[in-house]
């Protein structure tokens, strides 16, 4: 008696889900148009644009408030986000932050790009890349809080609503990056 050896199909193949072949990226202009429409809809319905660095600050001060609330209450910059009873996470930026994490993940999942790896230039090691990514993060967010917004909050949103200060910030971000690019070219090329 032969037993048919049809493979039992699993209803949810986790391994296959995370090992899909990577699909190509969406064309930049199309991605830009879609991003622009998302930004427009946000501005149209809520009056707020997009943002990211503000949420990072709020998450940090939230943690600080759990352990050293007195310090938070005595530091004006932290006070206005989390002073007294104020919940720093109760701000539109925070759902946007977590939504973006989820959205990035979902896109990666659909297009087969969820993979534990390191993106870097060919001439440096993974470890160097990790340390520099960390350093870059420290610098970028420090600068973002100083400028009251990052590329999403100032360059994208502020740029679209034609805020003069935002265009200045946008130019400085690109200026700073282009200015240093030659000196760190070994990291990327």
């Amino acid at each position: 008696m032969t037993v048919s050896s049809k493979p039992v199909s699993k209803p949810f193949d986790l391994k296959a889900l995370f090992n899909r072949p990577a699909k190509p990226y969406v064309h930049p202009y199309l991605g830009g148009v879609i991003l622009g429409i998302v930004l427009f809809l946000a501005l149209f319905f809520t009056g707020n644009g997009l943002g990211s660095s503000g949420a990072t600050s709020r998450l940090v001060v939230f943690v600080q408030d759990q352990f050293i609330p007195d310090h938070v209450d005595r530091t004006p910059y932290l006070l206005r986000m989390a002073g007294g009873d104020k919940n720093p996470l109760d701000d539109w930026l925070v759902p946007v932050f977590f939504g973006a994490l989820l959205g990035g993940f979902t896109s990666g999942l659909i297009f087969g790009r969820v993979k534990l790896e390191t993106t870097k230039g060919p001439r440096i090691s993974d470890r160097t890349r990790w340390m520099l990514a960390f350093l870059g993060g420290v610098l970028f967010l420090y600068g973002a809080r100083m400028a009251r917004g990052c590329t999403s909050g100032q360059a994208l949103t502020g740029g679209a609503v034609l805020s003069a200060g935002s265009w200045v910030v946008m130019l400085c971000i690109f200026g700073g990056a282009y200015g240093l690019a030659y000196f760190v070219r070994k990291l990327w090329n």
Binding site: V38, Y77, G103, T118, G136, F140, R148, A181
Partner: protein
């Protein structure tokens, strides 16, 4: 102008849908960045070596798409630009912060949101950038107090737009930005072809049609123009909460909506000198007195703390008012009678300044109520509207007793309260700041 929707200006537990809406916005944001390839730091950094200009294309396409749609809906009267968050300009901290971000960008290979897209798809360098970001934000929070005065004051210009800087109409600025961006795309494609050795014949022709559409929309904005003050005024509404006696004897709080002109004719926004006097001691309000009379009248007599903004200069001061108005800010405009003040009220209301009231009867009425015992102030018969009905020995400004009436003497003054805080968007926050 029904948009933006007041209910969505921030998250609130009273309206739980707001969390979902902002979560969805974030989701679309992260999704779009990842699918455009921004989870990959090398792709991001390539921008700065001219081999691949995806960042420039995505960013500026997004900017011109959003910008054109925003100003198109503003010019059609659907979107109220005064209620849209426009980042205030802090010139020096913006410049220094921007430069530091640039350095962080080229070293770290990400910006904050792209690091989210990257980290969430498993890239370890994205995760390291995110972690570093928390440290960076922490460091800023701890070091801000060393330069707080510079940070909060240097180069602060308030809500300034490119239209203000260049003195050009909005539509023209929109068109110029669109054309500039399209020129940059053309340049980027040349660079990609020459340095990046990309085969440009494989680029979709659709992009040329898209460019045409954006230019056409920008031209529409140029031709329709921005809504005039009159047009904005016609759409302005005033809300009031009224206690209504129901049929069954209970009292219910009802919201009534008035057009601006109705609010004036039904005298909802005119407050008596008594109410204004008491409002000055109300700790829950930030009161601003706007005296819109000519400087000469102001110098003869004015209320203590009143700002003199002659009617002709009022329009230019509105951006400043809009940028700093807190949710509990109340503005009282006053003139000798009511005519000038009413005109000023119309202008401020049209331009979206919230909680504006008129001093009923004006300065003439104020002096009649509070200054009738002052021997120095002599009444005179004035035939014309907006003339001071009193004579003053000298231009003493606010040094009369009735410029700042005694709170103890007037403690039991009576009035029918009309001031109700109309919650409009909190202008002191709304961005990433």
């Amino acid at each position: 102008m029904n948009f933006p929707l007041l209910a969505f200006q921030n998250v609130s537990a009273a309206n739980p849908w707001t969390y979902l809406i902002f979560g969805l916005i974030g989701f679309a944001f992260g999704f779009t960045l990842e699918m455009s390839g921004f989870g990959n730091s090398r792709k991001l950094a390539a921008q700065f070596y001219f081999t691949e200009l995806t960042v420039l294309k995505v960013m500026f396409t997004a900017v011109i798409t959003a910008m054109t749609l925003v100003f198109l809906t503003v010019s059609l009267g659907w979107l109220d630009y005064s209620q849209v968050w426009v980042n205030p300009t802090y010139l020096w901290s913006g410049i220094l912060g921007g430069l530091i971000m640039g350095v962080g960008f080229i070293i770290g290979g990400f910006c904050p949101t792209t690091s989210l897209a990257s980290a969430s798809t498993g890239k370890i360098d994205g995760m390291m950038f995110m972690l570093g970001g928390f440290v960076g934000a922490f460091l800023f929070g701890e070091t801000e107090r060393f330069f707080t005065h510079w940070y909060n004051n240097a180069g602060y210009y308030g809500r300034v737009t490119l239209m203000d800087v260049f003195g050009l109409p909005t539509g023209v600025v929109v068109l110029m930005v669109v054309l500039m961006a399209l020129f940059m795309f053309w340049g980027a494609e040349q660079l990609e072809r020459i340095i990046g050795k990309k085969d440009m014949s494989r680029e979709p022709k659709l992009r040329l049609y898209g460019a045409g559409v954006v230019v056409a929309l920008a031209l529409v904005v140029v031709f329709i123009g921005m809504p005039s003050t009159e047009e904005k005024y016609e759409k302005a509404t005033i809300l009031r909460t009224v206690s209504e006696l129901q049929a069954d004897g209970t009292v219910k709080e009802v919201q009534v909506k008035y057009t601006a002109e109705e609010a004036l004719s039904q005298r909802i926004v005119q407050i008596t000198p008594a109410e204004l006097f008491k409002a000055r001691y109300d700790q829950g309000l930030i009161l601003t007195l706007l005296d819109v009379r000519p400087e000469a009248d102001y110098n003869l007599f004015h209320l203590r703390g009143a700002l003199n903004i002659p009617a002709e200069t009022l329009k230019s001061r509105i951006p400043q008012l809009l940028a700093t108005s807190a949710p509990n800010a109340v503005y009282v405009v006053m003139s000798n009678d009511e005519t000038l003040a009413t005109q000023a009220w119309r202008l401020l209301t049209a331009e979206g300044v919230p909680n504006v009231y008129i001093l009923e009867g004006g300065i003439n009425n104020w002096i009649t109520v509070f200054g009738h015992t002052d021997p120095e102030i002599q009444p005179r018969s004035a035939a014309l509207d907006e003339q001071l009905k009193f004579l003053f020995p000298a231009a003493l400004g606010d040094r009369y007793e009735c410029s700042d009436p005694d709170p103890i003497e007037n403690e039991h003054i009576e009035f029918t309260p009309k001031i109700q805080l109309q919650i409009k968007r909190d202008k002191s926050s709304g961005g990433c700041g």
